[in-house]
């Protein structure tokens, strides 16, 4: 895993949105790489900046939907900084090289056109004949395991079930063989039995097509099921990142540790759940020091003075916590 080349490098990404209360720092100095053929998951609670990060990479934050925003940093893809590209250049990358699916497939599909036609529209962008294009659409429908694909080509989105719609979206995104597929909460709107089918499909497609998948989720169960590596975000900052087995077995950052302990396991007879006291910091207020310090049981005086850097240890785990950097031993779970 470690020797794999990077396909996408995000470095020092900053995103600020203009709000009535002043500029809100949604993402602060986030840096991470996505490697070829891996499934990278970005996990965090609502408002942590995980979706904003993906939207910035896809250049979906613009003057119209976010007036007054500021984006800084580098997003390197194939030797170019995506943040510097002109819109017409980005159009050649968006959908072709990097594609993205969203939480609610019904919002992404046009209710007035048949599912097959909407995938066909993506396929013909590659200048192939009509007949070849329709054959490709059918092949894609089979590839994403849509049952009775010939009939489904002619269905309208509202005639399909939620899982089927998300399969159509995945098929559309695969149509042009992207290098990276970004999936923003791809199964949150689906039932668990359907979620399991879609996750299986994503694992199978990664295997056969070898593409990189970047999954954004709030659900540690999904991380446990499909991730190779995982990054944990809190209040716009990447606080911990590493191999999924390592993070689940030994979460280093207090936030990751407490979040995992707040998940219900077993029965109420085993005691109450861990909670995290306090609230998220106000994103419009400039914060000195660690953003988690007011809620952290392990805080030290230094946490108030300087923000901890994301430092990599010998095992390839990166953690942004002063305590972890001072003690060489990671805090153990009990």
């Amino acid at each position: 895993m470690k020797t794999r080349p990077n396909v996408l490098s995000i470095s020092d990404l900053n995103i600020c949105f203009s709000t009535p209360n002043g500029m809100a720092e949604a993402v602060q100095s986030v840096s991470f790489d996505i490697k070829t053929g891996e499934i990278y998951t970005l996990v965090g609670e609502s408002g942590c900046g995980k979706s904003s990060t993906a939207h910035a990479v896809m250049r979906l934050i613009d003057r119209i939907n976010a007036p007054g925003h500021r984006i800084g940093g580098r997003v390197e893809f194939q030797g170019r900084n995506l943040l510097d590209l002109a819109e017409h250049e980005m159009c050649r990358i968006r959908g072709k090289e990097i594609s993205m699916i969203f939480q609610n497939p019904l919002d992404s599909l046009n209710p007035l056109f048949r599912a097959g036609y909407q995938v066909y529209e993506a396929v013909v962008l590659d200048n192939i004949s009509k007949i070849d294009a329709w054959a490709r659409v059918l092949e894609l429908f089979q590839q994403v395991r849509i049952s009775d694909p010939e009939a489904r080509l002619r269905s309208y989105p509202q005639e399909l079930s939620g899982g089927m719609r998300q399969r159509v979206m995945i098929g559309m995104m695969l149509s042009r063989n992207p290098t990276i597929l970004i999936a923003d909460e791809p199964t949150t709107a689906l039932d668990v039995t359907i979620q399991a089918q879609v996750l299986e499909l994503m694992l199978a497609l990664r295997k056969t097509l070898g593409m990189s998948v970047w999954v954004i989720t709030h659900d540690f169960g999904i991380v446990a099921e499909i991730a190779d590596r995982v990054g944990v975000m809190y209040a716009g900052v990447l606080v911990e990142e590493g191999d999924v087995y390592d993070i689940f077995d030994h979460p280093r950052h207090p936030y990751t540790r407490m979040l995992m302990e707040s998940l219900p396991r077993g029965s109420k007879r085993n005691g109450r759940l861990q909670t995290i006291a306090g609230l998220l910091p106000d994103p419009t207020q400039a914060i000195q020091g660690c953003r988690f310090r007011d809620r952290c049981p392990d805080r030290m005086p230094i946490c108030r003075e300087s923000a901890p850097a994301l430092v990599e240890d010998d095992n390839g785990i990166r953690v942004a916590c002063h305590r972890f950097h001072n003690d060489s031993t990671p805090p153990t779970r009990n």
Binding site: E45, S46, S147, S161, G162, G163, M164, D191, V192, T193, I194, Q195, A196, Q197, L199, E200, H218, D219, F220, G221, I222, V223, A224, E225, A227, V244, Y245, F248, D249, M258, L259, S262, L263, P264, R265, G266, S267, K268, R272, L273, Q274, T275, I276, L279
Partner: protein, 329 residues
């Protein structure tokens, strides 16, 4: 001991009207002959996918919608009877919905929303504020929230206000319809802890509806599994979720994401396809088009709930086979 809640043969069929004369074209059998009991002080988890009818059961139990058939008894009194004294009965049952923001008046203060049930039920003005203060303390919220509006509260605070409001009249039954599904995990933990503390303090009886098996397993004593309006399996939560005797429960349990990546290679039963339409239900067992264990009998005969072990009921023709299969492993 008599159970606090007795639900027998409860059904709700919604009519679909079509055409010029709005004649009844079809029925949606949202809930179809559901029977279960809940003991006082117990938590029954109710699990199912969207469209399984679990929220409809909750609404029927509180008579927020009228039942097509069947009975609901609360403490021996029939809620579904036409002449039932609903105002008095409703004081004994509370409900908390999934979306706390949508269940509060957006333009009224929290104080107004909390005073409402007490005023309606004729509490003395002098006692109302004390009762509200007591209840707020029990859900770990301060009095300063009373003058705020719902949108000024976080999701977790809103949901704790909903719980407080539901408990102000000291009900014996609290129906919780996906109370933590809209919340972040750290906030979910706060709300679950408060619910368990309140249950211990007031000996409350919970019907806890959720699609998250880990949450249900944590809070429940017994669990009922629904699929397409029918009860598939019911029993002690550890038994049903660890050794399910219904293929649907097996499918649901193994579809749930694992707690750690070490469980990736676990043995799984993935149900194929998606649930069929509620208007055009399959014959026989409703699961048979998706079931890997189906036999000819499953397509023709509807399985009845049978008690295979004390307190463990399942509606599957192949339950004995599943049981043998499990014990031989």
């Amino acid at each position: 001991m008599n159970p606090l809640v007795q639900v027998s043969n409860l059904s709700k069929h919604f009519e679909i009207r079509r055409g010029v004369f709005r004649s009844v074209a079809a029925h949606v059998k949202a809930v179809d002959g559901v029977t279960f009991n809940i003991d006082a002080g117990e938590t029954l988890g109710l699990v199912g996918e969207s469209g399984s009818g679990k929220s409809t059961v909750a609404r029927l139990m509180l008579r927020l919608i009228p039942a097509t058939a069947g009975r609901v008894l609360l403490g021996g009194q029939e809620v579904t009877a036409p002449q039932a004294p609903m105002k008095r009965l409703r004081r004994k049952m509370g409900i908390v919905f999934q979306d706390p923001a949508a269940s509060m008046h957006p333009r009224a203060t929290i104080r107004w929303s909390l005073r409402r049930p007490l005023i309606t039920n004729g509490f003395e003005n002098s006692r109302i504020d004390d009762q509200i203060d007591d209840m707020l303390a029990k859900v770990n919220l301060g009095r300063e929230l009373l003058n705020r509006y719902p949108h000024q509260l976080s999701g977790g605070q809103q949901q704790r206000i909903s719980v407080a409001r539901a408990l102000l009249l000291q009900p014996s039954l609290l129906v919780l319809d996906e109370p933590t599904s809209a919340l972040d995990i750290s906030v979910q933990a706060q709300v679950l802890n408060i619910l368990l503390d309140l249950q211990d303090e007031f000996n409350l009886t919970y019907l806890f509806i959720s699609h998250d098996l880990n949450v249900v397993r944590y809070v429940s004593d017994r669990v009922a599994i629904m699929y397409l309006g029918k009860l598939m399996e019911i029993g002690p939560v550890e038994v049903v979720l660890q050794k399910p005797l219904h293929p649907y429960t097996q499918g649901l349990a193994s579809s749930s994401p694992p707690m750690t990546p070490h469980h990736r290679g676990r043995k799984r039963l993935l149900l194929s396809e998606a649930p069929p339409s509620l208007i055009n239900l399959p014959s026989g067992c409703r699961l048979h088009p998706r079931c890997p264990y189906k036999k000819a009998v499953c397509e023709t005969d509807r399985p009845k709930l049978r008690e295979l072990a004390p307190g463990h009921w399942t509606a599957c023709h192949r339950a004995e086979y599943l049981e043998q299969n499990q014990s031989s492993q």
